[in-house]
Structure formats: structure tokens, C-alpha cells
């Protein structure tokens, strides 16, 4: 079984968004969500983490649930994304992409060799411009040569 390759605090910030993204592929059940996240490279998500998160999404109206008779078992709970869930996914995914681009810019500027600084600047400007609700421009970098 895959172990979790990412720090816990990163996972806490992004897991609900990734679960919404998996549910956007179609209605599915709890273990299948965990297996899909594992398959996508997020690592093993335990039931103790996943089901409380799914319950919170249900409470927020982002998913609906219903039980179906299982094969040889008593039943299976299916989760499906609602319109509100789809809207939340779109909004948060957009914000996350902006945030990820910003973090990439900040960390790249601090770690990249000087030759690629210009390319990084261009990427940062491109990432910051279309962002909705994101900070305008990139933050000043005290280590950057002027």
C-alpha cells in the first residue's frame, strides 16, 4: 500500500478540494475515492480522515449521498457532487491554481540560478494577472537583484 508522500499540513489544506475533484469524475463510494486519490499520487487516505471530510461536504450541501444494496454485502453509500459542490470546486480550484503559481514563483525565485530569473518573472506575471481575488502582482523579493 502507498504511504503518504506529502506533509500532513499540506494535505489538510488541499484534501477537500481533491475529494471534490474526484467526485466531479462521477458519483462514487468512500473507498473508491480513497483509492482514486492514491492512484493520482496523493498517497493513502485513511477512512478516519476521509469520512468525516465527506460528512462535512454533505453538511455544506456540496455532495448528496444515498445507500444502495451492495454485492454480497449489506449496502454501499454513494456520494455525488451537487451544483453547489461543482461551483465550490471551480472557485476553489481557481484560487488554488493561483496560490500554487504564486508559491512556485516565490520558491523558484529564491532557489533558481540567476539565468532563469527572467523566465520566472514572466511566469509570475502571467499567473498573477488572471487571478480572481488573488493578490495583485507578486510580492517583493528582497533577495532579487534590481
Amino acid at each position: 500500500m502507498t504511504t503518504n508522500p506529502w506533509p500532513g499540513e499540506w494535505m489538510r489544506g488541499v484534501l477537500d478540494l481533491c475529494v471534490l475533484a474526484v467526485l466531479a469524475e462521477g458519483r462514487t463510494y468512500g473507498y473508491a475515492v480513497a483509492a482514486r486519490l492514491d492512484e493520482l499520487g496523493l498517497g493513502t487516505i485513511k477512512g478516519g480522515t476521509l469520512y468525516p471530510l465527506l460528512a462535512r461536504l454533505e453538511e455544506a450541501g456540496h455532495v448528496t449521498t444515498h445507500w444502495e444494496a451492495g454485492d454480497g454485502g449489506p449496502g454501499r453509500k454513494y456520494f455525488a457532487l451537487t451544483a453547489a459542490g461543482r461551483a465550490a470546486l471551480a472557485a476553489r480550484a481557481d484560487a488554488w491554481r493561483t496560490f500554487a503559481a504564486l508559491t512556485t514563483t516565490i520558491t523558484s525565485a529564491a532557489t533558481a540560478p540567476p539565468a532563469v530569473d527572467a523566465a520566472v518573472d514572466a511566469a509570475a506575471d502571467a499567473a498573477a494577472e488572471p487571478a480572481t481575488g488573488a493578490p495583485a502582482g507578486r510580492p517583493p523579493n528582497p533577495q532579487e537583484p534590481r
Binding site: 463510494y29 473507498y31 478516519g48 468525516p52 460528512a55
Partner: protein
Amino acid sequence: MTTDRPHTRDAHPGSDAAWREELVLALRARDVDGARIGEVLAEVDEHCRASGEDAAEAFGDPAAYAAARTVDEHDPSDRSPRRSPSVRQAVAHLPSLLGLLLVVACAGRTTVPVTVGWLLAAALYPVAATLVVHVVLDAALTGRSRRGLVVAWALLTATSVAALAAVLLLPGVLVTLPRTVALVGGGTLLVAGALVATRSAVRSPDADVVSRPWDDPADVRRRNVRAGVLAAWLLPAMAVVGYAGLTALDAALTALAG
């Protein structure tokens, strides 16, 4: 496409059964209703069956998991009373308990002396029973079920010692009842209490059994009524067993002495 892992475990192996019991107790302690508990259990069963993991491996500590499942539902500032029994509810059973003691006291006797200590001892038990339930539920909230049971046993032992002391130290007789009067009086208290509780259980069931999401609501109601009726007749059943046991013991001792 995701496929379930092959089943590597039974549906409820020993350790998993204990894990589930702790989860149910911890959820009960958080005032989660039976239907919701059943749904959480069904999710656990389904996940374990699909993943091949056991419950502890997949869901961690049962008390912590119960807390995670109720964190958004349980406002810490909420001071509304919990469904766990109050002292007032326990004291409502006092007449039935007196009936039980009267009936049991009749075994092997021609008269029943009712003393101050005897009445005090009878009143101690409902209070102790309420405390025990609270201790067990509070222990389940923090995942210390075993410690809760130890404290509960200590409480019951202390109550029994206090009751015995009350009977021995307060021997003043309030009234001496003939055996028939005590038996009929005790039986009446017991049956009346059981009938009132049965009527209440049938009209608006107080019991809240754990039910699965796919259970028929009519069947769940029937089970709640059945649980309520069984609870209503528990004290009369104890009185019959206690009376029969003590009478048989008395007869055996008399035969041995003779």
C-alpha cells in the same frame, strides 16, 4: 477503474467487534441518535470490506473517530441536557424499586419490617445507577472505557456498602407488614410502574436502537417499542427471579437444618 480489495477479514472479527462497541459507546456519549450511529457503523463496515483493513487500522482510535464525526454537530457552548438519564428520571423508578425490594424481602418470611435504613438503602440505588451511567458515558467520550468501568464498579460497591450500613445503623421500624400485604403491595407497585412504562413505550418510544440506513422505518419503530417494553418489565422480572431464588434458598437451608 477502482476495484475493491479481496476480502481478507471476516465482517466482525473479535477485535473489530470491540472497536465497534467502543465507537457506539463514544457516539452515544455524544448524544448521537441510533440511526446516525448505524450509518457511521455501516460506513466503517463498507470501507473495511472494500479495503481489507480492520477498523482500527482504517479509522484509528474509536473515541477520536467519534469526536471527528461529531465535531461540527456538537457545539461546546451548547448547554442543552444530554439524553443520558438524569437523577430525576432515575428517581421516577423509585416506586418500582421499592416494589422489587418488598417482594424480594417476602421470601421466606411471614412479616416484613420496613425500617428507616431499608428505605434509605432503596433510595441510594437509583442515584448510584444514574451516576454509573454518567461515569461510563463520560469515560467513553475520552476513550477511557476500561477506567470508566472500574470507577462504575467502585461506585456500585460503595453504594452497596452504604446501603448495608444504612440498614444496620438505622434499624428503627416504621411499619411491619404482613407477608401478603407486602407481596401484593410490592407486586402492585411493580406492575403499575411496568404498565405505565409500557404504555409510554408503545405510544412514543423512548428507546433509540442502532439501525442501519437500509432498515425499514416501521421495523426500527417496532424494535424501539420492543426495547422499551422489555426495559419496562425488567424490574418485575428481577423481582420474580429474586423471590424464587431466595425462597428456594430458604427452603434448602430449612431442609438442611431439619
